[in-house]
Amino acid sequence: MSLLLQSIVLGVLLGGLYALLAAGLTLYFGVMRVVMIAHSAFLILAAYLAWWFSTETGIDPLVSLIGTVPLFFVMGVAVQRLLISRLNPSSLTMMSVLLTFSIALVIEGMLGFVWSGTQRRVRLSYGGGDFEIFGANIAVVKLIAFGLAAVSLLALFLLLTRTKFGQALRATIQHPEAARLVGINTDRIAGYGFGIGLATAAIGGTALSLDATIYPSLHWHWIGPLMAIIVVGGLGSIPGAAIAAMLLGLGQSLLQIPLGTTWAQTFFYIALFLTLMVRPQGFFGGRLAQRF
């Protein structure tokens, strides 16, 4: 019983982090119809920066967010304005996949080049700390990661629904031509949308660095589950991605009991293939995906 409870709690915590990361991916797809393969590479980059910051200064890796969030926002705007907007609109989707793939390779290679392929881990005073609720052990780092994800998702939600910029961004996602007609500078909005997406990668990566051993090629292990989440949730739908992230995170956590960690990971891919067989546009939201 407590094992089950433990898995559910872990699944929810994991799902929260997945939701944050998938929200970024969904944002890119929404504003530019771009599948950003490099998202998880940026995630690992942020984790490396947090680790590096922490080992160099001895300060808590979370403090590095002050630097990485604005940095990643600027990088996101730059990637969109300098690279992706140059692609030919008629082949944008396919070429953007290849372009962001190449960005992922460059990041992976540079990480290995600068910090070598050695596995790294942040040393934290509270790293081993945990506490118990109803017989379920919760590691403090996992709870911090979840808290970060929850706060950023809430901020993202408020930004999208309560601000003028958020309205413009949602209008751009829903109908770019109409948004342009009412005077929204969709190019600029798309750039900012990309920036915000990458800023979520900075937060997610830092949260990840608290709890995970990192190495340059780790991003391939993340991209699959994240892609599965956004396809199941319906490409382009942020609520869909959040729901799918929770469900798949929980499912993975529950399946770990009978199957073990490696086989439990295949759950994402099975969900992905089943979604495509039954409902290619995704299960939640997912109006946009019908165009592809």
Partner: protein
């Protein structure tokens, strides 16, 4: 009645055909004479690697080039081909060459349900599925260690006896790869000129219109997909026989799949020899960077930059770009050109800017 201009055109066509045949002979001669010119066994082994890349890229191009469905996960089929070949030899004691063909046929059969599932979606979703396929196979082959040896790898018995020394092995496998490549190129050429190939290219340019015109798009895509998987599996199997050792991390690597895409794009996915040209360039570059920068990850950076440059500045590839330049200096041909959607859109845009020249003549005999 044939007019004078038509006579001129036939003789020009004759010249073009002669030039093409000459070019083909030069290419075949260059490929066949490479082993005798290779300075040492290492260079020869690089030659085998490049030939293997060329086979894989050409196999990829059956799908990517003809239908425009760009799979980033074709390493799934080369890896499966390698493992199927190796496991058939080890588990059933089949003759290596029978195992190679049998294993590849098995992969082709396996590609049918995979194709049915993944060809339901287009564009980005298809790419995601192709990536997911490689990742899932990596997990399975690492975990299922009783059969595959897991992360310890799988040693594959050599098809030639111990009396065949390593340099000789390289030479034999070089020619085997070259023969496989020739077969794949011939098949691609035949399909490219067939009714089937026209249907596939219609799918590439506009799938909805192709379907509206009565092309059985799904069946066509599936057949192309299975052929592509089969050729790629043959390439992977032959490589496994040569290399003698399989590790899931390298067999089911997204990087390997990306190399196939990069090679084909770089050379030109619309042309027969595009993937071969790309394989020579990329294969040489990979080996150069690995030799020059050793274990550092720099070769990944170089490959990433190369892919980015190709996507941004020459998405059509080298061969089409060069032949376009040549065509500019030739007398204008009046046959039906292959125009991509992007080019049409570009021309249409130009027409809109200059309303006076709105009528555009693409084809038809000169009046």
């Amino acid at each position: 009645m044939p007019s004078a201009s038509e006579h001129a055109r036939t003789s020009r066509n004759g010249l073009a055909v002669a030039l093409k045949v000459l070019g083909l002979l030069v290419l075949a001669g260059a490929i066949l004479s490479f082993p005798s010119m290779a300075a040492n066994p290492f260079i020869l082994s690089v030659g085998v690697v490049i030939m293997s890349y060329a086979v894989l890229a050409t196999g990829w191009n059956f799908m990517g080039g003809l239908t425009g469905y760009m799979s980033l996960g074709h390493a799934a089929y080369s890896g499966l081909g390698g493992y199927a070949t190796g496991l058939l030899i080890i588990e059933t004691g089949w003759d290596p060459w029978v195992a190679l063909v049998g294993g590849s046929l098995f992969v082709a059969v396996l590609a049918v349900p995979i194709g049915i599932a993944s060809l339901r979606v287009r564009g980005a979703s298809f790419v995601i599925v192709s990536i997911a396929l490689v990742l899932i196979l990596l997990l399975v082959f690492q975990s299922w260690s009783e059969l595959t040896g897991g992360s310890n790898g799988l040693r594959i018995p050599r098809p030639f006896g111990p009396e065949v020394l390593r340099p000789e092995q390289h030479e034999r496998f070089y020619y085997l790869h070259a023969a496989l490549l020739a077969g794949a190129l011939l098949l691609w050429w035949l399909i490219d000129r067939s009714q089937f190939g026209i249907g596939l290219k219609a799918i590439r340019e506009d799938e909805d219109k192709a379907q509206a015109l009565g092309v059985p798009t799904f069946n066509y895509k599936l057949v192309a997909f299975v052929i592509s998987a089969f050729i790629t599996a043959l390439g992977g199997g032959l490589y496994a026989l040569w290399f003698g050792f399989l590790d899931p991390v390298f067999q089911f690597s997204i990087l390997a799949g990306a190399y196939m895409v990069l090679m084909s794009l770089l050379g030109g996915i619309r042309s027969l020899f595009g993937p071969l040209l790309g394989a020579v360039i990329v294969g040489y570059a990979v080996e150069f960077f690995k030799a020059e920068y050793g274990d550092s990850q720099f070769h990944i950076v170089a490959m990433g930059l190369l892919l980015g440059i190709v996507v941004l500045f020459m998405p059509e590839g080298i061969i089409p770009a060069v032949s376009q330049q040549i065509r500019r200096f030739r007398p204008q041909a009046s046959s039906i050109r292959e125009v991509s959607q992007a080019e049409l859109a570009e021309e249409r845009r130009k027409d809109e800017e200059q309303p006076g020249t709105a009528r555009r003549v693409t084809e038809g005999a000169p009046s």
